[in-house]
Amino acid sequence: MRATLAMMQSRLNEQPHLLRLGQLFSETVLLEVDGAEFYLTFRDGHLIQIAEGPSRKTPWRFALRTDADALAQFWQPRPRPGFHDIFGFVKIGRGRIDGDILALVKNLRFFKEFMALGRTAPQKEKVA
């Protein structure tokens, strides 16, 4: 998981439009995967730190809690229904979002596109 997050961190720095969208986003987000905690600290749209838990001392603004299989499916080029969006995890009972939800919603496009950076690009569909 940490390697994937590091890859996403690197990809984020190569996405000028995302850095622009996130320029006012300076928060710590808790990503919990199968109970393992990853504290993602963003500053001005850049992911500046990935810290592994457990930690009871690290403040976070909002949390996305899910499992590794759900994330693996989310990162498929064309995920199955329910695995295609972080809110889908909640809908199908494979995740939970809590904390300051309004902070998430205000930065929703940025955060969802950041999360999707772990996704491999869809293959071009063959023309019959």
């Binding site: 809908k91 939800i101 205000k106 929703l108």
Partner: protein
């Protein structure tokens, strides 16, 4: 220069005693079909259907922007009002537009809140229509979110609304059409998406009315995308099951805005739905 076949005109209708200037787009010749857009968007969602030569060869499509949406202005005095759509106002608006356009028992095709009101009209005013295509439509959906998020002074409601509804777009949708679809939400007027969601997430009056829909007189067909998190296939199937004689088709690779997000994928399902709307006997 080649224009698209869609033409747009304005008309004024009276709804609940107030004048509403409505923008209407139309295309085609033949049996009339009145099309309703989703919450927080406008008639542009139907652009591919109205530009489809195969469908417009024997159908005359009309799509209009609800008051406060797209190119329809809000009513006089809106600046001090809180926009909250109601079932009564919505029903009256659709009937007034159909009457002013002189439509003789059109097919009514609506998506999301447009599908919800299509089913309300099937229950309450079936004599004014010849069939109902309810897309991404269900009996009732309470909100899992706070609708007040989408109208507040410290954030852009349109951008937040677009980011939220993107959860309902299929990953099979072509990228350009995904973003065309989201753009309409980004452009939505302040408080309009919230006011639409008030109708969609708080008014459960349809549930008790579903059983009175007479599909022997007016067919009802539901279409639902598998990627729709707002109105899931389960929601649409439950709704169809409560309407004796209604049919329902699940569209495996589509989401909540099928005519806009993935026009090629939606077309065969919509053509099939139109074919299910049997021509009414002359009264």
């Amino acid at each position: 220069m080649t224009f698209e076949p869609i033409t747009g005109r304005y008309l004024t209708v009276t709804v609940q005693g107030r004048n509403q200037r409505i923008y209407v787009e139309m295309a085609g010749e033949g049996r009339p079909v009145l099309c309703l857009h989703t919450a927080g968007a406008d008639t542009r969602q139907w652009r591919h259907i109205l530009n489809d030569a195969g469908l417009t060869a024997n159908h005359r499509f009309f799509a209009f922007d609800m008051p406060w949406h797209g190119k329809s202005l809000p009513p006089e005095g809106f600046q001090t009002e809180e926009y909250l759509l109601t079932t009564d106002a919505y029903v009256e608006t659709v009937l007034a537009v159909a009457r002013t356009l002189g439509l003789d028992r059109p097919i009514l095709a609506g998506c999301s809140m447009g599908g919800r009101i299509a089913l309300q009209l099937a229950a309450l005013h079936a004599d004014r229509f010849s069939g109902f295509i309810a897309i991404e439509a269900s009996d009732f959906q309470p909100a899992w979110y706070d609708i007040d998020w989408f109208h507040r002074p410290d954030a852009h409601g349109g951008e937040m609304g677009a980011a939220l509804v993107s959860a309902n777009i299929s990953p099979h949708a072509p990228e350009a059409e995904r973003w065309n679809t989201l753009w309409m939400f980004m452009q939505s007027g302040p408080g309009v998406f919230r006011g639409d969601l008030s109708f969609y997430t708080r008014d459960d009056s349809l549930i008790a009315r579903l059983s009175r829909i007479d599909t022997a007189r007016t067919p009802v067909h539901l279409l639902v995308g598998a990627y729709d998190l707002t109105c899931t296939p389960e929601d649409a199937r439950r709704t169809a099951a409560a309407i004796p004689g209604a049919t329902c088709t699940v569209m495996d690779e589509l989401g909540h805005f099928p005519m806009s997000e993935h026009p090629a994928g939606f077309r065969p399902f919509f053509a099939d739905a139109l074919a299910r709307m049997k021509v009414p006997a002359h009264v």
